[in-house]
């Protein structure tokens, strides 16, 4: 019985000692350093709170957070939209009447992107789209802090074309196809 009492007092004492140690260590605060720092895992004492909007942990430049598309390099191949497990990328392409230009790695662009929407609310940050992209134009950036007032603002629209421009391109394509068809029919009639 007395053993029980002594053990009880001992274990309670250990608990009190532990909380007291943490209480006294509270005068030390964790330094706000990123994972790159050698000190990152060595800060075992003191309070761990990072007062977020006032203090931010530095993040690596190559962080993989939100998606970004460099539209000048995009050939609108639609691979990213196909691989996406949650279908958060929506692409609508329009064939151009002639080669538009070249991407920075020398691929010829033949499609206009009338629509290139990424819904970041659906995105699960798996990064599959960045690996399938043949021109490496879709990348993940180190931007993570994006809160919005309206859910619609989480749909990032990367297409540089306005609705009117897209309509113009569509009409041009139709016109060219009509001309081609007419030429074909004319050629067929000649035979």
């Amino acid at each position: 019985m007395f053993n029980n009492i002594i053990n009880g007092i001992k274990s309670a004492g250990k608990g009190f000692n532990l909380t007291l140690k943490h209480f006294l260590a509270a005068k030390n605060s964790r330094e706000v350093v990123g994972i790159q720092s050698d000190n990152y895992f060595k800060q075992q004492e003191g309070n761990v709170t990072i007062q977020y909007p006032h203090q931010k942990l530095p993040i690596p430049e190559v962080g993989r957070y939100q998606l970004f598309v460099e539209m000048d390099d995009c050939i609108v191949c639609d691979l990213c939209a196909k691989i996406c497990p949650v279908n958060c990328i929506e692409i609508e392409s329009i064939k151009s009447t002639e080669a538009i230009g070249q991407t920075s790695d020398g691929t010829t662009k033949r499609l206009y992107a009338a629509k290139f929407d990424i819904n970041m609310a659906k995105c699960l940050y798996c990064g599959l789209c960045t690996t399938v992209c043949p021109t490496e134009c879709i990348t993940m950036t180190n931007q993570y802090d994006k809160s919005v007032q309206d859910l619609d603002l989480l749909t990032y629209r990367f297409s540089p074309m306005s609705e009117a421009e897209a309509e113009e391109k569509r009409l041009a394509l139709e016109k060219q196809q009509a001309e081609k068809l007419a030429a074909k029919q004319a050629a067929a009639q000649k035979k």
């Binding site: 009190f16 909380t19 943490h22 209480f23 509270a26 605060s29 309070n47 761990v48 709170t49 007062q51």
Partner: protein, 356 residues
């Protein structure tokens, strides 16, 4: 006429003190718990979050007073008032300094115990009046706990009273220092009436009172419904216990009662065991530390400081120990604390007869 005015002023002063202490207590509690858990606690409102409690009070004042449809409206509305007033009345009989006591009652400690028991009725009213199963369970647990723990606490107090032979808190305070009218003996043998200081405190006049003090302290934790005895509120089981249905200012009153109760039980503990408003510094030869640090202003300072230390201990206990189970709670009370308290009372009798 002046007499009544003075009474009202004293009551107002005590209420102001209780309210201010509660704001301080809530802030301290949040900070202590945060530091123990390696957090920072409130930091946004005011410098280091110092205005957080005032912001919370402002929020509570603005809230709607919701009475549940099925509640017993009278009991529900009265309960927080009774809970708070019961604790608040207890402050009337507590001495602050050699010449400062709001109401000098010759049955002071008896009055405090009696008035504090009324709180139980308030808690039961709150639980029953809410017409909510969690509130009722919480209230029943609370009442069972408070009624049970009043027994060891009562006997621990009786063992002090047997030593001091008085129910008057001012008289008990006077005996523990250089202002004593009778002889004070350290450990029952060495006369220390002239020396005073820590040596003359009750726990050193009769060392078995250290055990009584521990019993009283544990029981006082249970009586103020604080962890590890917070099964009446047990947020993981009962939402918030008896005050589940309360909102706004009524909830604030329950909170006010809890923190005033903390201060009240700490102060009673200090008065009975830790030398009340007497200084801990003894006279050493020509260095009359005890004489220099005894007086009305010093008295207020000492008793406040000692009570704050006990409250700090209460908070430390709360954030260290996990909650008791119901059966363990009753086990501790009836099988451990009550027999020990009886033993203390027995030793007190022998001590009084043979050594004093």
């Amino acid at each position: 006429m002046n007499h009544y005015l003075l009474n009202i002023l004293v009551a107002l002063a005590l209420f102001t003190f209780v309210a201010l202490f509660t704001t301080f207590g809530v802030y301290a509690e949040r900070k202590v718990s945060a530091f123990i858990q390696d957090r920072l606690g409130p930091m946004e409102t005011g410098k280091y979050g110092s205005l957080q409690v005032f912001a919370d009070m402002l929020k509570m004042l603005q809230k709607e007073l919701i009475t549940p449809l099925a509640a017993d409206k009278i009991l529900f509305a009265l309960a927080p008032i009774i809970i708070f007033v019961a604790v608040y009345l207890g402050f009337a009989a507590l001495p602050w300094a050699p010449g400062l006591i709001p109401a000098s009652i010759n049955v002071g400690i008896f009055y405090i115990l009696a008035v504090l028991s009324i709180e139980t009725v308030g808690i039961l009213m709150a639980g029953w009046g809410s017409n909510n199963k969690y509130a009722l369970l919480g209230a029943m647990r609370s009442v069972a706990q408070i009624v049970s723990y009043e027994i060891p606490a009562g006997f621990a107090i009786i063992s002090v009273i047997m030593i001091s032979q008085s129910l008057d808190l001012q008289e008990i305070s006077k005996q523990q220092g250089i202002l004593s009218a009778e002889n004070v003996k350290f450990l029952g043998f060495i006369p220390v009436k002239e020396v005073g200081g820590i040596l003359a405190w009750n726990i050193f006049r009769a060392p078995h009172l250290i055990v009584a003090f521990v019993i009283y302290f544990i029981a006082s934790l249970a009586e103020s419904n604080r962890a590890p005895f917070d099964i009446p509120e047990a947020e993981s089981e009962l939402v918030a216990g008896f005050h589940t249905e309360y909102t706004g200012i009524r909830f604030a009153l329950v909170f006010l009662a809890e923190y005033s109760m903390m201060f009240l039980v700490s102060m009673v503990g200090v008065i009975l065991f830790l030398g009340a408003w007497n200084t801990p510094l003894p006279n050493i030869g020509a260095v009359k530390l005890a004489d220099w640090t005894t007086g009305n202003i010093w008295g207020i300072g000492w008793i406040f400081l000692k009570s704050l230390l006990l409250i700090g201990l209460q908070m430390w206990v709360r954030w260290t120990l996990p909650r008791f189970r119901v059966d363990q709670l009753m086990d501790l009370c009836w099988k451990v604390l009550t027999p020990l308290a009886f033993l203390c009372m027995l030793i007190s009798g022998i001590w009084r007869l043979w050594l004093m």
